[in-house]
Amino acid sequence: METNNSGRRGFLKGALAASAATMVAAPGESAAQAAAKVPASASGPSSRTVAAETMGSHSAHDDELTGHVHNPGSDFMVDVFKAAKIDYVAVMTASSNRGLQESIVNYGGNKAPEMIVCCHEEAAAGFAHGYAKMAGKPMACMVHANVGLQHASMAIYNAWCDRVPMMVIAGNTADATKRRPGVEWMHTAVDQAVMVRDFVKFDDAPASLQHYAESFMRARSIATTPPMEPVLIVADGELQESPIEDRQALRIPKRVDVSPPEGDARAVAQAAEMLAGAKNPVIVVDRAARSQEGVELLVKLAEALNAPVIDLHARMNFPTTHYLNQSSLRRKYIGAADVILALEVDDLWAVANTVSDTPGRPSKGLVKPDARIVSISANYLYAKSNFGDLQRYQAADLPIAADAQATLPSLIEAIAHATSAARGSVIAARKQPMQAAFAAMRAAARNSAALGWDASPISTARLCQEIWAQIRNEKWALVSQPQFESFWAHRLWDITEYQQFIGHAGGYGIGYGLPAAAGAALACKGTGRIPVNIQPDGDFLMVPSVLWTLAHHEIPLLTIMHNNRAWHQETMHLVRMSSRRERDPESWRHGTLIEAPYVDYALVAKGMGVWAEGPISDPALLGPAIGRALAVVKRGLPALLDVVTQPR
């Protein structure tokens, strides 16, 4: 019979195709590894697909009869990943993505993209967050329909507030008639993306593979255009698992990067005029730099004006060693400023005002009434209403909708143009006082760091300096948030390179620390850069399973616990409440201290396969222990040191 014949022919050809694939494998190499070598084209089908399709030439009908699918849609989705140059996909394994996961391994050879196996979707999205900031490009995270996306949502929110691109892939089964009863209904939604739509820049649920390719490439370019943000693509289960009808007819649009918006020339000239003529200009930077080039441009800008720079630390913007970095003197300079230049500042209102955490929440202005504000930010080009990341409204005197880094070259040039000889001498005269103020600021920081130097629990200044002593002659990066250690790293370390610091969580969502540090460490792997994560204990407890992922993938990351045995921020809120209400003054510890029992973080880490030591509370023992941990990291493995510390 015709059907039988073609079925048999299909089977034989399928076997041939499979053996062809095995033949390219070198001795000791699996077919998947061999497949990984096969270059994928951006627009056409990969050679493997062509081979499978031409040699195997299965009809869908053949496969239906044998129960096989030899050219699933998810293979094409892997081609799309490759065309988009997505190197890693953080995965929490899940049935709604089973087709895609199998294709990543067997069709894609688990290389570019390579799966990073996570134990929680919050870890997967957090990984992608930290990776993008260190690598300067997005990776993907792949999460289960409904339940996985809800787990991931907190980390997506942080990345959104932090203006970080990531590709979120969520499963679903749109066609209700294809869902098995029970769990598959629980794990599908009419509108999967609605759960996170308020904090992704773009989402789509493609209905065909061609639609998938176009939406994915569109999503990637939207994500990486300032303001950069996470995006979501729903990879429908039927689309993943059904055969590709005609691979030759499918086209993957080429990967393109949108050039970031540069400030309007007239507005930039006006800004330059205001700045060059200012008596006390101040530059405030938050997410101003996107690369080392941005750091260097900011130095040029500041030197052109001899203006103090106040770094709000959402990224590495300005070298801590430069005499114009006067971040600790923020109040003094803001109060005296006549022109303030804000570059990619999230909260402009808080630069010029403050609200006191006292009853009635009184607010007051911090700037002179006639101070003028120039604000350059890509945030003017994008807003969503529901979540409060846009902060209280502050009308700048000259708001410029543009990417700050892209605008810096023209701004610097315009300032040179606007600097007459007379203005030039005013600017030059600021240099010496700025140098003196910088020296005094650094000396004050050293003196403050000495206080409590020998205390136990160990002071955060001592913690930072013990680390600094051991990494300062290496290629290093601080991949954690510095505010928990009273900004000692920024006050005392020489932070000069863009990749030496990746900023904060963005959305202040606890649980960012360990996953994001791990993601940044992944981006450092193989580059010789040693990532250092000073890890608060409360944050650690949110997604500790990241340690297993680090061990599993042998990602070197030096984690030093900042273990103050509390959700410390909350202790301060609680003592404020009971003091204000004149109630039990010792009640603040309920629900805020992590005690009875204390968590043995070294034991937790060892249980997940990570080298660990501690707890250490004697400062004299800290240096040698860091040395031992660092040696492990230099061997290419993660290490954790538990250190019992002062609160802040």
Binding site: R442, A450, L451, W453, S459, E582, W588
Partner: protein, 117 residues
């Protein structure tokens, strides 16, 4: 030195020792209060200060000014009234802070190199 003089100087010594012991006791009680009432949360366990509160050592305010500040802080610090922290307790906290040994000077600490060193 006659007998009377001798006795009185021994007495003075005894009184002095008792006074020091009392001071030490007060400082010890002050230490406990500094922790339990949550002063350390913002000022650090040895009053070294940090991002959440200024250092309270060295140059601790004189006890009257110290107490006045804690009762009616001028800015962000929460107020501690008599009802939740008695005068004697506040005095003990002050005694604790002034009893603390001085921290080493920055210049004597190898791990605090001068900028550029």
């Amino acid at each position: 030195m006659n007998f009377l003089q001798k006795t009185s100087s021994v007495l003075l010594l005894l009184i002095g020792a008792a006074a020091t012991a009392a001071q030490a006791d007060e400082a010890k009680q002050g230490h406990e209060l500094f922790l339990k009432r949550g002063c350390y949360l913002c000022h650090g366990t040895v009053g070294q200060g940090g991002i959440a509160g200024p250092h309270l050592v060295p140059d601790t305010l004189p006890v009257d000014a110290f107490s006045a500040y804690v009762r009616t802080p001028a800015r962000e610090m929460p107020p501690f009234s008599e009802k939740i922290l008695s005068g004697a307790e506040l005095h003990a906290i002050h005694a604790y802070l002034i009893s603390l040994p001085k921290s080493p000077a920055a210049d004597s600490i190898k791990l605090l190199p001068k900028p550029g060193k």
